[in-house]
């Protein structure tokens, strides 16, 4: 494979053909924020937080877009930051009052991003005032707690369950604004073919998939 040279934030970089913009930037110490991307998984480019400007009509996701020779990539400017803030606000507006991940291990990536972007007020109708029904919890598993309300549909658990563990349990179910994650034929987690390996908990960036607190289940 041949090498490709391009510019990222004014820095000349040279990487092998087929590298994504996100990987190329990381190699040169330029950090592009992400939520749905995990370097161990095939990228899906759905949260759009890593949107960058390559001079096109729309802003591609750096995690999926391959580098091209002569490309001029801008990873942050006023416009991009404004979009990142709005996207973060959109995801936060439906979150539960408190993140289970933030409350326990304190590493909720969505909240961390909100702090970094200084997102404070959400002008959008939140989960409480919404006409959409609450998305619910699934406490059936003694090991893993599922809070659909905290899920941002990043697809990390779906990919980890399939591609890292080959357990093939999780899907996106439904369509549009009512999409959720589901297990097998959308049954409660405890009734599914889940083997409680915990990989989904490990990759989840929010409080959607966390370990059950000891003695919590009924």
């Amino acid at each position: 494979m041949s090498d490709v040279s391009l510019t990222i934030d004014g820095v000349e970089v040279t990487v092998p053909e087929g590298t994504t913009i996100w990987e190329a930037a990381a190699r040169y110490g330029i950090e592009i924020p992400v939520l749905c991307h995990d370097p161990r998984l095939e990228p899906v480019g759905v949260c759009r937080i890593c949107a960058v400007d390559v001079g096109e009509r729309t802003l591609p996701a750096a995690c999926v877009r391959h580098v091209e020779a002569g490309m001029n990539v801008i990873t942050a400017n006023t416009e991009i930051t404004a979009h990142r803030r709005i996207l973060t606000e959109l995801m936060l507006s439906d979150q539960p009052e408190q993140s289970r991940r933030e409350a326990t291990t304190g590493d909720d990536s969505l909240y961390a991003l909100a702090r970094e972007l200084k997102v404070s007020d959400f002008p959008w109708p939140d989960a409480k005032s919404s006409s959409n029904p609450p998305r619910g919890q699934d406490d059936s598993s003694p090991v893993i707690a599922v809070d659909h309300q905290a899920c941002i549909l990043c697809d990390r658990c779906v990919r980890a369950c399939d591609d890292i563990q080959h357990n093939d349990v999780i899907t996106r179910t439904g369509k549009g604004h009512s999409v959720r994650i589901g297990f097998d034929l959308d049954v409660p987690m405890a009734e599914s073919s889940c083997v409680s390996c915990g990989e989904c908990v490990a990759v989840c960036p929010t409080g959607a998939l966390t370990h059950q607190f000891l003695g919590e289940t009924s």
């Binding site: 802003l59 404004a82 959109l90 507006s93 549909l153 899907t171 549009g176 604004h177 999409v179």
Partner: protein
Amino acid sequence: MENKAEHRLLNALEHIQQTQGAVSDEALKALAAEWGQPLYRLEGLRSFYPVFRETPGAPNRLQICRDGPCRLKGEAAVKALKDALGDRDDIEIEMVSCLGLCDCAPAAALNDSPGPLPDHADIDAWDIKDRHSISEHLPTDPYPDTAAHYSTAAQWLKRPAEEIIAEIDAAGLQGLGGAAFPTARKWQFTRAAQGEPRTVICNADESEPGTFKDRHLLEHAPHLVIEGILIGAAVIGARQGIIYLRHEYQRARAAITKALNKARADGVLGSDAIGPGHDFDIELFISPGGYILGEETALLEALEDRRGEPRHKPPFPTTAGLHGGPTLINNVETLAAVSTILARGASWWREQGIGEHAGLKYVSVSGDVKNPQVLCLPWGTTVAEAIEHCGGMADNRDLLAFSPGGASTPFLPASAAQTPMTFDDLRQAGSGLGTGALFVVGTGRNLAEVLLGQARFFRNESCGKCVPCRVGSNKGVELADAALNHQPNAIDAELAELHQTLMRTSICGLGQVALLPLVDGLKRFPDEPSLQPLRGQTPEAD
């Protein structure tokens, strides 16, 4: 013959739905075992496509369109019918997205038979009037009778592919599915792309509110579309063609099936279709539903048995489409126009337009005109002339506003009615020709509700893949709905900002335009009373 592609999971699911009235858990478990597929994958498909139902429901199902022209004209009739049928448990009423029957708004489908909304008194004896049971001869159909069908392909296939491309280029044909991409260039790119398999796909998923011209073409001239596919196949070297048809177009489905069977019987399709020894056939694939499947890469995902969620581009289908091979995807009207252009010649085509404009355009006209219909107009015809061709405005209304190109194209005021219906003129006027779907709104209508209705359609049809569209379109609709129908709230700046994010960061065209008509309307109609609640003002009582 129609469902020869039993190798597809989606065909198997469709078969289960057809024969069992639902796709139950038991059926999916059996299918999973038979196909060696994980359960989650089948759940992902069943829950994504609206045709598949988990439980059978009532014996009769009445689907009523909730979008654009139907909502504009039918709210009272729908309410009356719902009230009258309220206590019947043998009929289930379902409000659905545009059925592509905007010419008979308010439109409905009873047990999949489409037609105008029935009066509650007639529902038991609902006999859907066959509006056009006799096939019309279309103005762009070059053939006097069926015996002459496919003679254009027969002649042109003897000539080098470059000449075909050059003729299409000379005619100035641009894609008529909404994006206006030059057709000759698309054919050139796909021809030049390396790899297998090579496929031609006719996009007949037409589902954008106000758009029904493809239905008209498919019902009355399926042979022109088939011929266009055949010529495209010869140019790009494809061995397979697919017509991707929306589920609701039952009459078009019958017309296409009949035409395909005849073409096979006559040897037009089959072993020597695109030259001696070069076989070619066309599969009719019926979409399991949803507007997003019209987006070309979502369509490809469906054909590959996945949830119809758009892919990231690049790569484009021209180089890496169906199963990774070069794929030519064109709209119904584009392919039919190729047949007409090659039959009559590019110079004939150019002469049909007005002034410097070339060709003939099928325009769907809906809303407050006397006779909503599909018109075949010379390119360059103005909006006002199109309205006149439909008998003028209905119910003694005056023109208030119009959207010239489908749900994604901004509304323009009556003062813009002299704009020619071309890509360039309408873009300069601040809107677009899109799919050539003129939605006319008369005075006395609530423009704000119409604009919000377009945003609702996109919100309802979002595939849910990316955050800006999935969450943003919903928040935008909720915010505007609350301001319009509950408490006035100055949200015009917030909506404009949200739209910028959707436009710039959404993966596909759906999210990119979801809030455009609403946000544009707020700017373009500063004095429109119905929009005042979105600026925080209480509308004056009249």
